[in-house]
């Protein structure tokens, strides 16, 4: 097919570069500078999709973000993406697009039967029909509706493209590069302010590219080019085309979506496809312009019906005629420019103007050019199924409620103009109320809530002279406010044709004995009858009407439908539009890809990964890692075909029999210094700290003010006023904030400083009966005897010439030590330990073995300290000082906390000594009990006891130790398990704690 509707000698496209593309399998050609939409229209392709509900044929309607119909499935760069607006995507070689919501094809769509059954699909159809039976919703109705309705198909492939985020700060952000945007950005930039000018389209200039105006003896387009080229030379100005500001958030944070890749033929590997900008701007000028609104009439959704402004843009920007027998249907002057443009290109239009005989510069111009104009006329019904073939038009009666006559005119397109709606989405998102301007029948911004000004057409100013003058003034004012520099700019002289006021006509009456669909919202298939029905059924609030009928809820956010919907509601309700009000505008203003929102935070970049200095060693030894917050910790070291269970058993057993080493770098470490450190610890921990000697460590328990255990760990007195605190891996950050809170806010009189040293030290735990021998080998000159370094003792030494800290502390319950060395030497320490420990049968052990060892010993950890347990619940009442006050102490005497039958920690073994008990199992006395089966408690931690060679668990159960000897069931419906268990002491191994002191 040739480009039958391409015009000669007009447009901004590059005719030297022909581009091939595919639409529904057919190969077509366009030019560089085309959008997919303009290229389709150049080839006289109008039918692009089927409507959402009725599967009616739909064609292109707008030329930009106003387009409601042309949502296509597009393959770009080998990736398929749904719901792409044909009017916004630029034509590149090899692009392939297909229609959506139709089967088997857009030309022949089975779903179109809905159109003939339309009386069965009224507003709220789904709510009314699929109510019963209730259980059918998920299984039958919802899958059916999802299949029948909807848009394109999302890909399940991984997105191969790159998306980026950018943070930017500026003095002034100007959104939109039409006349108001250009003038204000230019004036502000002249004051020296740092300005960003954002334009959604590839070309700057907005309406100046298509309006027939004259500024300083230049055409609108040429003046725009001149201003842009001057702005480009200014170092304080950033010009961004293909960039849509789509969200306005608190404190002047705006979010912009930049299309950086799709328009390029080729791009390098790391070139992003799209970029999200977070812009914090001191001031904002919203120059978002306006969108033409349609007039509603019968079958007004037929392909070949356009906004008049879109038809003009297709001619003047793309050199494309949307038809060769155009009918122009208007209630105002602006559509006459479209008519004149057709005429200039050798195409004879007919203009229907709903107003009585008018004279204005523009109308007279049209008359003088011999354009046929029918005043007091309107389109009643469009004829044609897949394309407009003719229209029933008529002379309106005096009050415009009916037609005096009906005649048929042949036409191949209808260009409609129902006047202009300011684009107030961003100003509304900023928090501003809107006020109704009766002169233009639309909402305009009221007072500014944030530091922003709305100007030009977005503010309801529809004459260029006023817009240019005020925009220069606003730009200079804002610039002066920001920089204190005054500039005097000669405001250019503007020549434009004067317009007569528009007619408040927005919906054609129906011709006698006919009842065609009249659509208000194309994208969601909402007709006049649907809204009428909703009101008859009692919906009054515009927000309810919107949700019931889905008016304005589609991806175009009702850009062309909102005001007509409001007009309809206000007419029926006999109210004026401002009383009906408007629905809320929410970001995003235009659809944004998920990829852009996510940016680079995908895969392993989703969150930062923390690795210990020994990480590479673990990797080499086949460690299987587990996430501990942001840390990666070895869970077990796989040997041969071992599974988790076998490996962890081997590792734990080796600790009990020989010696094992575990990477404990991830433990939180906090350095505490200052003369009041002891007093501070005494208030933070439940136990006493005033008398801890230098060179000794102590186990400490920390509560929240509500009495719940927050964290535990050891703290060591390094010197008189210097302590080294350890926290659990998970709570490290919280504990530091907690300490800072009390030091800075509650007890600022304490002279103490805290700082995290977690990443400064690499740590290795050495545990097992042979750990002393291994330590001796590493520090041959150190007295590591039981007397020289007793349990809970601390010494400093050096390793590889750098300081090392040696603590005799134990989590495994065995004789054990922890060595800390400067992080950079962690790997050397680890390798040295493995080398020296060879004949002692040293093995590394992971977190799974670590858990086994601590569970057997009855040591509590995260699963027991889950924020719901107080010290006595986990058998740590001995740690609670009666003599002093501390954080959370007052809560411990509350009635609920001193009750005897609280759930407390115990040990559990399966009576068969074989069945492993799933963590999270509930403890019940009758496994077949009637639901809800009374729950006595739950299993918090489970392991295979390597000491006793049978399963063992810790559980928190009602009445705790008083239940020892009783038998219950641990039930886990998830695992379909009910295991008989016996309650025993939580200290299953070495209950007297002799090993750690040996």
């Amino acid at each position: 097919m040739t480009q039958s509707h391409r015009l000669e000698n007009i447009g901004l496209i590059n005719r030297n570069k022909k581009i091939s593309f595919k639409f529904n399998g057919k190969k077509l050609f366009g030019f560089e500078g085309d959008t997919l939409a303009s290229a389709l229209l150049a080839n006289n392709v109008h039918l692009v999709g089927r409507s959402f509900k009725y599967h009616r044929p739909r064609g292109l309607f707008g030329a930009g973000i106003d387009e409601p119909n042309a949502k296509l499935q597009v393959v770009i760069n080998g990736q398929s993406e749904p719901n792409i607006n044909a009017t916004e995507i630029e034509l590149v070689e090899g692009i392939s697009a297909t229609s959506q919501n139709c089967w088997p094809s857009v030309e022949f769509d089975i779903g179109a039967i809905n159109n003939f059954l339309k009386s069965f699909f009224p507003a709220g159809f789904y709510y009314k029909t699929f109510m019963w039976p209730k259980s059918f919703w998920y299984r039958v109705y919802e899958p059916f509706i999802r299949k029948a309705a909807g848009l394109g198909v999302g890909s399940i492939e991984k997105d191969k493209e790159r998306y980026e985020h950018k943070y930017e700060y500026c003095d002034l952000l100007v959104t939109g590069s039409g006349p108001s945007g250009l003038a204000s950005a230019y004036a502000a930039a002249k004051t020296g302010a740092k300005v960003i000018l954002a334009e959604d389209k590839p070309r700057f200039g907005g309406s100046l590219l298509t309006d027939d105006v004259n500024i300083d003896n230049l055409s609108g387009k040429d003046w725009a080019y001149k201003i842009i080229s001057e702005l480009k030379k200014m170092p304080n100005v950033t010009l961004k085309n293909r960039s849509q500001v789509f969200g306005y958030y608190d404190h002047n944070m705006l979010v912009m979506f930049e299309r950086t890749g799709d328009h390029l033929d080729k791009k390098s590997k790391y070139h992003p496809r799209q970029r999200l900008w977070y812009i914090r701007s001191k001031e904002v000028i919203l120059s978002t312009g306006s969108i033409e609104r349609p007039i509603v009439f019968g079958n007004n959704d037929t392909p070949g019906i356009f906004l008049a402004s879109a038809a003009k843009e297709y001619m003047k920007v793309y050199g494309v005629a949307v038809g060769k027998k155009p009918l122009i249907f208007t209630n105002n002057d602006s559509a006459y420019e479209t008519a004149i443009e057709f005429k200039k290109n050798g195409i004879d239009p007919i203009v229907l103007d709903t107003r009585e005989e008018q004279n204005s510069e523009l109308i007279n111009d049209a008359k003088n050019q011999g354009i046929q104009i029918k005043f007091s006329h309107a389109v009643a019904v469009a004829n044609g199924y897949k394309k407009v073939k003719s229209a029933k038009i008529g002379k309106l009666n005096s009050n415009k409620t009916g037609f005096e006559n009906i005649e048929i005119v042949q036409c191949d397109c209808i260009c409609v103009s129902g006047f202009w709606t300011p684009t107030v989405h961003l100003t509304s998102q900023s928090g501003n109320k809107l006020k109704f301007n009766k002169d233009i029948d639309a909402f305009v911004p009221d007072k500014s809530k944030q530091k922003e000004t709305t100007i030009g057409a977005a503010n309801g100013s529809f004459t260029l002279k006023e817009t240019i003058e005020k925009s220069f003034e606003s730009g200079a004012d804002v610039g002066k406010k920001l920089t204190a520099n005054q500039v005097n700019i000669q405001v250019p002289s503007v020549t434009e044709k004067k317009h007569k006021s528009h007619d408040k006509f927005w919906c054609s009456p129906l011709p006698k004995n006919e009842n065609p669909k009249r659509f208000v919202d194309f994208q969601n298939d909402v007709s006049v009858a649907d809204i009428e029905l909703a009101l008859r059924e009692g919906y009054r609030s515009i927000e309810h009407v919107k949700r019931y009928t889905t008016l304005g809820m589609a991806t175009d956010q009702g850009r062309t439908s909102n005001l007509n919907g409001l007009q309809l509601v206000s007419n029926i309700e006999n109210k004026i539009v401002p009383e009906v009000g408007h629905t809320t505008f929410r970001p995003p203003f235009t659809p944004v890809t998920i990829g852009t929102i996510v940016g680079r935070e995908v895969g392993h970049h989703y969150m930062p990964t923390r690795k210990s200095p020994m990480h590479e060693w673990h990797l080499k030894k086949n460690a299987v890692f587990v996430d501990a917050g942001a840390w990666k910790r070895p869970r077990y070291y796989k040997q041969g075909n071992e599974n988790l269970f076998e490996a962890s058993k081997r590792e734990a057993k080796n600790v009990r029999e020989n010696v094992g080493i575990c990477d404990v770098t991830t433990l939180g470490k906090i350095d505490i210094k200052g003369p009041d450190s002891a007093e501070f610890l005494n208030r933070v921990y439940t136990n006493a700290w005033m008398k801890l000697p230098v060179g000794k460590a102590r186990y400490g328990l920390m509560l929240r003010e509500d009495g719940m255990v927050m964290d535990d760990g050891t703290t060591t007195r390094i010197s008189e006023n210097h302590y080294h605190m350890t926290t659990t891996t998970a709570q490290a950050a919280n504990v530091l904030s907690h300490l800072e809170y009390y030091l800075q806010i509650v007890w600022p009189e304490l002279n103490v400083n805290v700082v995290s040293t977690t990443e400064q030290w690499a740590g290795a735990a050495i545990a097992g009966p042979k750990s002393r021998e291994l330590l001796k080998k590493l520090f041959p000159d150190l007295d590591v005897s039981n007397e020289g370094l007793p349990f809970m003792g601390y010494v400093e030494s050096s390793l590889f010439g750098v300081p090392a800290k040696i603590f005799r502390i134990s989590f495994s319950g065995e004789l054990a030590y922890e060595i800390n060395v400067e992080s950079d030497y962690g790997l050397s320490m680890w390798e040295k330990l493995m080398e020296l420990g060879k004949d002692l049968k040293v093995q590394p052990y992971g977190t799974e073995a670590l858990s086994t060892l601590r569970i057997e010993m009855g040591h509590v950890a995260g699963p027991e300290l889950d924020g719901r347990t107080i010290p006595s619940d986990v058998s740590l009442d001995g740690m609670v000082s009666k003599k002093k006050d501390f954080i959370g102490k007052r809560s411990l005497v509350k009635e609920a906390f001193i009750k005897n039958d609280r759930q407390k920690i115990v040990g559990l073994v399966p009576t068969d000594r074989k069945s492993s008990i799933p963590e999270g199992s509930h403890i019940v006395s009758d496994k077949n009990g009637k639901l809800p089966n009374p729950k006595l408690g739950h299993v918090s931690s489970s392991c295979w006891s390597v000491e006793n060679n049978n399963p063992f668990s810790l559980a928190i159960i009602k009445d705790g130790k008083n239940m020892i000897g009783k038998k219950f069931f641990a039930v886990s419906p998830l695992h379909k398990k009910a295991i008989e268990v016996e309650v025993i002491s939580s200290h299953y191994v070495d209950p007297k704690g002799e090993r750690v002191r040996s």
């Binding site: 404190h251 914090r280 928090g431 809530k449 509500d706 800072e740 809170y741 600022p748 007052r890 809560s891």
Partner: protein, 89 residues
């Protein structure tokens, strides 16, 4: 996203801060007699006003200082920020 003026570092993005709740709550003194009600008020009871609220923020990804901010909970306008030992009226 809010723009918050840390009294030590200046204006920074909300991303750097953690919220810390009502700044007017005072912890009862250590070793003092505290009734159940007083204690519960301190631990649990918080007002949720619409309008001006004096609250704590922690510059957690910055200087790590806690400070006070007076914010309108409805509009998010921040009127003032102050160091802990300074008053906001």
């Amino acid at each position: 996203m809010l723009h918050i003026k840390c009294p030590y570092c200046g204006i920074r993005s909300q991303k750097e801060f953690a919220y810390g709740g009502d700044a007017t709550v005072k912890r009862p003194k250590l070793n003092s007699d505290v009734s159940d009600k007083e204690w519960d008020d301190f631990v649990y009871m918080r007002k949720s006003p619409r309008g001006k609220h004096i609250e704590l923020w922690h510059h957690i990804s910055g200087c790590r200082q806690w400070f006070k901010a007076q914010r309108d909970t409805a509009t998010h306008e921040i009127f003032k920020t102050a160091k802990i030992n300074e008053e906001i009226k």
